[in-house]
Symmetry: none
Subunit: 159 residues, 2 copies
DNA sequence: ATAATAAAGGTCAAAGAAGGTCAAAGGTGG
DNA sequence: CCACCTTTGACCTTCTTTGACCTTTATTAT
């Protein structure tokens, strides 16, 4: 049997297919259409359109508020996911971190002006605390920066 | 759906572009044109044309009153130097750090794809150590990233 | 000159319009 | 029966719009 969650999911997938991977919805409107609680929409977005399923969701509150959903292109997506899940562990030396940035640059996922910033952030001098803490913090910083790339990778396409 | 605020914002941006960064408006006239309360114009100016978005607003009341809006031209080099030397101290909260990144973005010194990376690097979650060390490390990371921008802008000059 | 009046723009708080969170209750498959 | 989804609702936060009232400046009438 299909749940409301499934119905809403399918509806969003359909919209996405017809709109080239980027849509704009109103939470209340959608909830109205499916006769459910508005917060159900959030549930669907959290469980079915999460970042590791390859989607990006952004929203604004207040008058003129909206929810935007993007489908992240797969190539960049899988490289970034692999780096986040596998290559960056709990701790990371400067050398290892630099290799990862280089890999992103080589793959064309980032530009030089982005690589420079990332290099700067992971330098020893940027993290003035002792080992082993420094390497742990470095892993954390890099992971977050790579996550940011994941979030970004859809919107860059259109430019 | 776009709000009245967005419409007015776009209208002002258009005027600014056509008038070389300096315009002169009448509050009531503009409110009339968009059929809104005059105070809505103030709201737009406060939220969209604030000083840290790179705009300057001056006005005069009474007969022959006016509102003037200027776009402040920025010199990347001096902005970066000021941020390194003055704005980033020994320690920096996430809020303060975010303001600095926003300022760079608004000034057009960095692009969105760079801002996203910088933003990610300075998040609490990126620096998993306790206060007050976290704020000290954050200051250090941001300073190094801004230095990288400085280096980059010098190189670009020579091209 | 002065005092009234008209013509701007400014402030602030309340109401309205979204979306977000979280925990409790309700189902369902093993 | 238990663990794991779904569904719902009460309450929260953020952003926008409106309106009543205030201040400043210019003009006009005594």
């Amino acid at each position: 049997m299909s749940t409301i969650t499934d119905l809403i999911t399918n509806h969003i997938l359909l919209l996405l297919r017809h709109a080239d991977g980027e849509i704009n919805i109103q939470r209340n409107e959608l909830a109205e259409k499916f006769s459910c609680a508005p917060s159900q929409i959030n549930y669907v977005l959290e469980t079915r359109f999460s970042i590791d399923k390859g989607y990006l969701v952004e929203s604004k509150r207040g008058g003129g508020g909206y929810i935007r959903i993007f489908k992240i292109p797969v190539d960049a997506h899988s490289l970034l996911m692999e780096i986040i899940d596998v290559q960056i562990g709990r701790s990371l030396s400067q050398i290892e971190a630099e290799k990862i940035v280089q890999r992103l640059l080589d793959a064309g996922v980032i530009k030089v002006n982005q690589a420079n910033i990332m290099y700067a952030a992971i330098q020893r001098e940027s993290i003035p605390i002792n080992l082993p803490w420094r390497d742990i913090v470095r892993a954390s910083i890099l992971r977050n920066m790579v996550r940011a790339l994941l979030h970004q990778s859809k919107k860059e396409e259109g430019e």
